[in-house]
Assembly symmetry: D2
Homo-oligomer: 427 residues x 4
């Protein structure tokens, strides 16, 4: 089974796929010291240990407990400790306190993972016939869930290490940035009309509930940039007083600027007159040609105002992405873990990879949206307030996790995701 | 000039209209004690005194100072004290401190109003020829602005008095609720298709920048209730454990429920087993047949989930409202200052008046939106994050202030507006 | 009765004294606008209206209700609204919300005062014989209580007006500062030994419970300054970097300096290179020869460290004060409402009046302390943690309210009292 | 050298003593998992890793850098990371963020300790002759400093583990509580008079600056209990509604009760009708005969009020302790790490060990107090506001760290220290 095509799954494929995804999580944590697994550097961040345990709990709660006969948990308390936010499932452990829990230890968590993996192996090699379909559905969801947490792991590890005045290096063997010519920003024109948006439930491949149903939207004619905005371009905004003039900012954004003292993207730092940024490969000079990253929606929107443009809507973004070559780009597999040269893949418009692109669309349900039944229905639908949609995946996203219809979402003030943006404007 | 049709304005009409709107603000404050004018009961609320001064400042800053030769302010400090949030105009006085300023006194503020009124009279009777058009544009905006603050005045006065364990009565001579038969909730069906939404810039009448441009949206077939949800219906939700089960709630909403201890709409109070609510006419038993009011978006959305429905989008709402009889309903002129019997006006679907109706649409710009130039551009556009659209006006809205295309907006947690909701569902 | 000598009281004296004290409170409020009565500029401040009502409630709760037959309250809700902190008496209205209550109005509060005054007049002209002694005790306490609130009124009015960028003037007819020669600071030496401290219960005159019992303390030999530190001297500390160097500060004090951005005493403001301060007579240049005022304990202590000295203990202060001429100084009756020239009264050491003097003594019970019985026991004893003792009264204190043994107390961070300090050192 | 008698020190003794104290710190951490070293469970708590590094930094900053020729730090950043609060030495790393720093790792910290130990060994075996006296003074201080942190380590480890719903056990091989008869509480009477208090600078043994100078105080006659209050006695207070009635409480204490929901001592937990507490040996039933522990000053004071008594002053405590047998009791060496049976050592009055005893004395300087010169002066003096004195050491204190004159101090709301109390009353 490729997790994209669950309908072709066979038992052997299931297990191989399961192991592949589970291994990937542990690989990401291999460079960590035990101490790094424990820290919660802000409420939005979870300790890496917690991520590793929580994704295992997901399989336990939604697959092993209901479907594996005589399944015994390793420790009943984990059911409480590693429930993230499923209020209808039980009382989740308070999110803000995840960094206060030194036990179970990292070794305990790996033992928990092994325990769950053994049981999953048992379940997947001999599933109860009457539940095969539901098991496959939940397995697929569980693997996508774990892939999401792989990206969160990288975001959170970066944030944790960034608190440290020693600027610890996560990995010093990252793949070097590719050599490729920098392209000036170009614009593409799209005509208006009624368009189809979203995932077709009857079609192929997995998608989350909130990507459905496929439905019609009227999209006015528009133009869109053929690559994201770069660090160099963003620096011009900074030098033009972008962070000092309220004119460009949403009211909430301007409050953030003043209260939190924003003067540059997150992780940027001026040293002896040169802008640096903290990366998973350590502190280094800002690459002016790479897409700007770790900016909030407010900063993206302010830049767009300053530039006389706007952000694309998610419908516009999807219309563009659907018409282009299959998704390619700078994903986690490229092993840069940092955006690289903007505009590298000319044909694809660099829609995928590098940075999640803030859209101008609030995260709301599609017409006809139905959340999953039961506790799994708490996956996406309940976050549909106060957040903005991002599209396209980033340098920390597994390549087979992303889709044209994929909707990511964060509060407009969030900066610790690998988030950038591209411009659009009226045609 | 009726403020709806500025293009037919003549000088005499201007002045008459100006005086009519200005008088209305003062009438609303007539029942107040001086002490009531001073209190700021929460950050979102402004002292009535401040409202009266701020709307005058608006005329001073945007009409008198630029267009009336030799205009002299009464006190230069007012320019700072009564700027609400125009960051590009100057530094606004901190919002949270409005209740700490006992001077200028209420009498001073009325003197300030008279001073501005005299100067406006001078300006409007002999406007400089080259600016007539701009003056009319700003005058119209200024009057609508003051009307908005008339509604805020009533909301804020209610909130201020409600803090008081004595439950002071704002007016004991409010118009009694009309007698009319209660109707069971019915549904209307609308077909899908491309629809026109928003205000036509070239058309008649005033509209705010954010209601424009008129543009196309694809609206799927839908059904919509022919009246808002009533107090009695909402009480069923409460009795069914609506405030106790996370299942129905958005995640942010559920946090509010727990943190702020919500168990009923704002201003409700159980006394000896009977639900009462605080109104501008004092504390009284809840009218079960009237539209529920003072609920947040989160409560409206939770009710809809519980009822197996959803809230209409603002496009759906506007499609429905446009097809119905001219706006009529329970507005401020009816002098109830409280929602009355739901479903009273069967043909109109009770779309207008009584309660602002939460829609399921996040407050975002229409495609092609352009904010006003200069500081006046801070009027609507900069609030386009984190808020939801409400439609239709309420029992505190001046009747000639509302339009089919009118977009109101509040954060989803706000409860002190006269806000209710109606249901929609897929056809 | 002079309130100092209740044992000589007769009925006529009682009433005359009651009226004198009550009138004084209303005189202090005479210059206020109604609007000024409503504001609560921080949690520690109460609206003037509240002070006027609360002191009346005190008489109602502790004298009229228990001792006046058939006494009827004006409004039973006042018993809740105007209870300050007597937890054993009932549930006090939340302190932080006192500024949210516009009703009862100011006129209502004066009516309440008149109602209480009428009843008190009745009680005092015909007290039940069996309770005469207790009535006198409580009357005396109630009058001292009201005098305390007279000083709080002035402190709070100053703080309220100071929030206002218009710098409103409380009174422009204050008595001008006296002309008298400025004296250089001198030192007096006191030998060590066992001393008597505190009020003798068997002696003459009223004192609060926490001033008793008179007891012995061993006081080492010490030297003490013959006047408080002046604004000019404090300015030297500021210019020497006093607010920038942690060396001089208690840890908690240094935190305040950084968190609240202290760089000068409260109410100071630099304008075109000249230090001004806000006074009850408006904004004016700092009088360099007057005692420094509106400094916290932390600032007083830091200054003393910088100057190579320390603050006197309350025992040292009392030993010195007892040996000097009867208390005289700049009290509320002098009608300056601001400290005047330091060292004016050479013989008295300027121990009384002008500024409350921070001592180096934490506010704790004397050995053998017994709080009053019943709810009146909540008067002083329950505040004996986290506060420091101040001595000597200030320019807002009624002259007959102060005593050599009088113990005032505030948290060490408080600055809105008329608080200054003098130095001491080892002999 | 015994650290009590530095004047008899010789080089060999110095080094042996140094190694003994350093080893003790590491022994306390031996039962920890690496993960436990990282957590900061509240602002007052530091991660164990931080304690181990900070005490080493103390030797580096105050001994190695100034006195060891060519000393090279392991990492210059440690000088910033492990400075606790010495503002005059450099900018300390923000206390609240100590738990956000995963690196240096635990192994790094042990390497740092070894690096410092090697250098200290070099310094102590060949100290520069002209600085021998100062080195000895600072060495003694550094060792006492490390012993203080040994106690903090145990307090903090307990607090960290207590956050965890798994109730992890620090050690399951603690020494069992001794068997000894429980004694009813008795009282001892002491006459009044002038007493000598504090450490004699010219005398033998080490003491902190704030224990000096020895000076006279007048102490009135008093009675004092011959043992601390027990858990069983405290439970009577709880059952009598002690946490529900404001009468017994200081105002600040009552606020804590309500805001933080106090209903029992910290770490207590009712399970199936039986009171348990969390200990370093795990969760266990409350031993009713042991001294009550983990109560704040507010709880101690409220109990005393309820019992018609008061807490002793620190002078009273010291007068009593000085007259008794040499200090003995339940210290860290007894290896209970929990208070044991109250009143076990009848002659000694159980003044030492088991629990730190809250006194009724605010933590203020003795008359004539002089803080140490330079940055070391920040050790004690700057905390002399807002805290109360505790006496006698506890079950986590090294026996040779405590003295009759030893003054410990905590804010009155602190509960995570091993703090209990005994009663006193007027004679």
């Amino acid at each position: 089974m490729a997790i994209e095509t669950p309908d072709s799954a066979h038992l052997k494929d299931w297990l191989r796929e399961y192991q592949r995804v589970r291994d990937a999580s542990e690989s990401l944590c291999a460079p960590l010291e035990k101490e790094d697994y424990i820290v919660q550097s802000m409420n939005d961040v979870s300790p890496p240990k917690w991520h590793l345990a929580h994704v295992s709990w997901f399989f336990e709660a939604f697959l092993l407990t209901p479907f594996l006969k005589d399944y015994r948990t390793l420790d009943p308390a984990y059911d409480f400790l590693f429930n993230s936010y499923y209020e209808t499932y039980g009382t989740p452990f308070p999110r803000a306190n995840r960094g206060l829990i030194s036990r179970p230890t990292v070794d305990d968590v790996y033992r928990y993972r092994a325990h769950v993996d053994d049981a999953m192996s048992e379940l997947l090699t001999g599933p109860p016939a009457e539940h095969v379909e539901e098991i496959e559905r939940r397995l697929t969801l569980g693997l996508h869930h774990e892939q999401q947490h792989q990206e969160l792991l990288l975001m959170d590890i970066k944030h944790i290490l960034a608190q440290n005045p020693l600027f610890p290096i996560y990995r010093n063997d990252l793949a070097p940035a590719p050599e490729c010519a920098f392209r000036e920003l170009g614009w593409r024109v799209y005509p208006g009309g009624v368009r189809q948006i979203g995932h077709d439930e009857a079609g192929q491949g997995f998608a989350y509930d909130h990507e459905m149903p496929r439905h019609r939207q009227f999209v006015e004619a528009f133009e869109i940039a053929d690559r994201p905005i770069t660090n160099g371009e963003f620096l011009e905004f900074m030098r033009a007083g972008g962070y000092e003039k309220p004119d460009y900012w949403l009211s909430e954004g301007w409050q953030r600027v003043k209260q939190e003292g924003w003067t540059c993207p997150l992780y940027w730092l001026e040293r002896e007159g040169i802008w640096h940024y903290f990366t998973l490969g350590g502190l280094m000079p800002v690459n002016l040609e790479a897409p700007v990253c770790h900016v909030s929606y407010f900063e993206a929107d302010a830049y767009a105002h300053w530039a006389g443009a706007r952000l694309p809507t998610e419908a516009e973004w999807e219309v563009v992405a659907e018409g282009l070559a299959p998704r390619q780009g700078n994903f986690v597999e490229q092993d840069h873990l940092q955006p690289t040269v903007a505009g590298a893949s000319a044909e694809s418009g660099q829609m995928f990879g590098d940075v999640w692109e803030w859209t101008g669309s609030a995260y709301r349900p599609y017409p006809g949206f139905k959340k999953l039944a039961g506790s799994l229905g708490e996956y996406n639908g309940k976050f549909m307030s106060g957040q903005m949609v991002l599209r396209g995946g980033c340098c920390a996203t597994p390549q087979d996790h992303i889709r044209t219809t994929y909707r990511n979402f964060f509060p407009p003030s969030a900066r610790w995701a690998f988030s950038g943006f591209r411009l659009a404007r009226e045609a």
